[in-house]
């Protein structure tokens, strides 16, 4: 993909994201793709903090904080208000963590998607409730350590398939994104901006304190997730799948071994994860053919 990364910045330095926070980078790149005619709605999550404490702000575009469960509803409301005022141009972005998407935010998201409200909903998925201390969510993968699923009794259920959930809503555009592939992410956001209706983008976000990895490895881990097919990059336009970044022969163990939250896994666990990843990949590949 040969698109230039826009030079404009819509984020200020001085925010309070942790060193190496992937969620900050995701927002930085997404806003480069959307431009300044954007309004953001953020339910409770790390980003509520990153966005700055009153009276200071991190974003250079308007942002509205909202309740944990209301990301999609708030965005849809802002969009309606803008339209009433005659502004059809401004993009409204709901920006929620996995908790605010997979769990408590799912009802509002499902409602907006079913109505096909004209918003972009982005889930930055760091696979747990990071802001409150790394509690598991339904986005936490099988066998992951979190503060509520300790290493001796790691999470027993698999990660919820949020893309399939959104597909079931028959919305016009769904995509996955990665902080390691900013050009791919920006291209997807730009495409979403041009489509009317509900657009859903799922971005996997390495979180150094929550994933127990050194801060300098954020991008490397995000890239390994894509290359090992743990988190394939693709988009679904009107039901049609297309892989946007080809993975390679990287094994899932390469991805897992850099993260403390998987340190307790044994060989068998890793084999099971590899098999699941392979199966899921062949499904996506098949749908993209």
């Amino acid at each position: 993909m040969s698109i230039e990364i826009p030079r404009e910045e819509y984020l200020f330095s001085g925010h309070t994201g942790c060193p190496g926070c992937g969620a900050v980078l995701a927002m930085r790149h997404v806003l480069k793709g959307l431009g300044d005619k954007t309004v953001v709605a953020i339910p409770a999550c790390c980003w509520s903090i990153i966005a700055g404490a009153f009276p200071y702000a991190t974003l250079n575009v308007p942002l509205m904080h909202c309740a944990f469960e209301t990301g999609a509803a708030t965005a849809a409301g802002i969009k309606a208000a803008l339209e009433i005022r005659g502004d059809t141009e401004t993009t409204v972005l709901a920006w929620a963590g996995d908790g605010g998407t997979f769990d408590i935010g799912l009802q509002a998201l499902s409602g907006a998607a079913e109505r096909n409200d004209d918003i972009i909903f982005i889930c930055y998925d760091n696979e747990a409730y990071m802001n409150t201390g790394i509690q598991r969510s339904s986005a936490t993968p099988w066998k992951t350590w979190t503060s509520t699923t300790p290493a001796n009794t790691p999470k027993e259920t698999p990660k919820k398939d949020i893309v399939a959930t959104m597909m079931a809503h028959h919305i016009p555009y769904i995509a996955t994104g990665s902080v390691a592939y900013p050009a791919d992410l920006i291209a997807k956001v730009r495409k979403a901006k041009e489509i009317r209706g509900t657009k859903f983008i799922h971005i996997l976000i390495p979180c150094p304190p929550g994933w127990r990895h050194p801060s300098e490895l954020t991008i490397k881990i995000a890239r390994l997730a894509v290359l090992s097919r743990v988190f394939p990059l693709y988009e679904i336009e009107d039901g049609n799948h297309r892989v946007t970044v080809e993975p390679d022969d990287t094994r899932v163990s390469e991805y897992l071994k850099l993260q403390g939250r998987f340190r307790h896994l044994d060989e068998t666990d890793i084999e099971v994860i590899q098999a699941n990843v392979d199966r899921e990949w062949s499904r996506i590949e098949c749908l993209s053919a």
Binding site: S13, G14, P19, F54, A180, E216
Partner: protein, 556 residues
Amino acid sequence: MPLRGKPTTEAEKIVFRHEAELPPMTRSMGTVLINKTGSWRYLRPVYEEKTPPCRDACPAGIDIQGFVDMLARGEPLEAWRLIRESSPLPGVCGRVCPHPCERSCNRGEFDEAISIHALERLAADRALNEGVGEEPRAPKEEERVAIIGSGPAGLSCAHFLGREGYGVTVFEALPRPGGMLRVGIPEYRLPRTVLDKEIADIEALGVSFQTGARIGDIGELADYDAIFVATGAHKSRSLNIPGEDAAGVIPGVEFLKNLNLGGKNQAGERVLVVGGGNTAIDAARSALRLGARTTIVYRRTREEMPAIEEEIEAALAEGVDILYLATPRMALVKDGRVAQVGLIKTELAEPDETGRRRPVEVAGSEFMIEADTVITALGEAPDLSFLPEHAGLSEEPREIDGTPVFGGGDAFTGAGTVVHAIASGRRGARAIISRLAGAGVAHEPPGPVVPFESVNTACFARQPAVRMPEVPVAERVSGFAEVNRGLPLTDGLEEAKRCFSCGVCNLCDNCLIFCPDIAVIRLNDSYEIDYDYCKGCGICAVECPGNVISLVEEER
């Protein structure tokens, strides 16, 4: 709208003195630039260019990454100019150098090393083909330097002295300048137009060449302010076997010299070459081109052969036979000319002082081979009889009759490659300048070498190296036309783009793109880190493709 504007606006602290000053609803009025998050940092990223391993391995220290980058940007003439900062003979080295740089190239551990020699040659060939050369200039310094010998060491010394404005005269015993490049290395590897062009560029610097001028006594040069001795090694070692004085037994360098200078053909119909170095291979491939059936006999195995690997392969492909593990015992002479050679088989014993396994003769394994010509290539020794006393002179200068005399090249280092001779000539020029100018020449210590593990290979896709096309064997053995065709420009530019740019910033923007704290600022062609905000996460250092950014511990 207080929030609009570029992120670089100075942050202002907002203070509410009375309740009345508070906004009716909590609305942000300033930016988080107020938080100087740089105070969180315990590791500090710093831009610190490092030495690429290719450059570290190049004896002449050519800025390989730099010239390859210029090629990648479509500037072959700029590439040529940059190489000439370290070596005056890119067209020669691009063809004959054993390229140790490529063995050290980090890309070699990823897929295939950058074809550095082919790119060096491409840059030089573009200058040659486009008629671009050194602008003529006259010496500006008063001091005059004499150089004895016009091989690569002498040429290099002349080049670096000439560039600094010193008047240089090169004395050469043979009728044409170039040393072994002229009389040793055959045309099919090094066309003389290339050599002539690079010598002309040195001449343009105000260097004068006196050919056919053998220096018999260094005292002849008493008028000069400094002397550089670069007379090479031209005396062939003898076989020490019965019959070696017969007609048809010729030292390799002599055979090549007579062929290369005078077009004289001393090869008969059946040639036996003794030895395993470059001279042996060149003599054999030349004899083959003169129509002889040619066999090389070497007393060790292919693994120990000191000749350049590609040359051995080319010789075999062209039909030269190589007989390993055998050595001549006597030459059988018929009518005054050698007719047969008696050989004995050898086997390898424990390693000798050169680290190679020592050959020992196998008793009772004698055999005969037909040969009307025997070319000996057992190594060459220097002839320093023009110096008052032999031992003692090295690269370290000596005063002889009040004149400082410096030595360089094969005669003193024994290194035996063109690029080592070039490096030695450059060291000589530096030493002479610091002597004549009375001041040391500043010598920047090179930075740490970038190991492969520090390259962010995720930035690169696997892609094999391009190779220079070769003239087909059947065609090339019929004459002395060049075997390797250079790279087409487009291939060369593609090849250049494969370079990792180890240790040198290539303005890829990765550090800027992946900084979560927007703390990397792009200047025109460099970057700056805003330490007011950088949290020291280290992402920039890891994501930099070529390991340009180092993380150092914060002192506080």
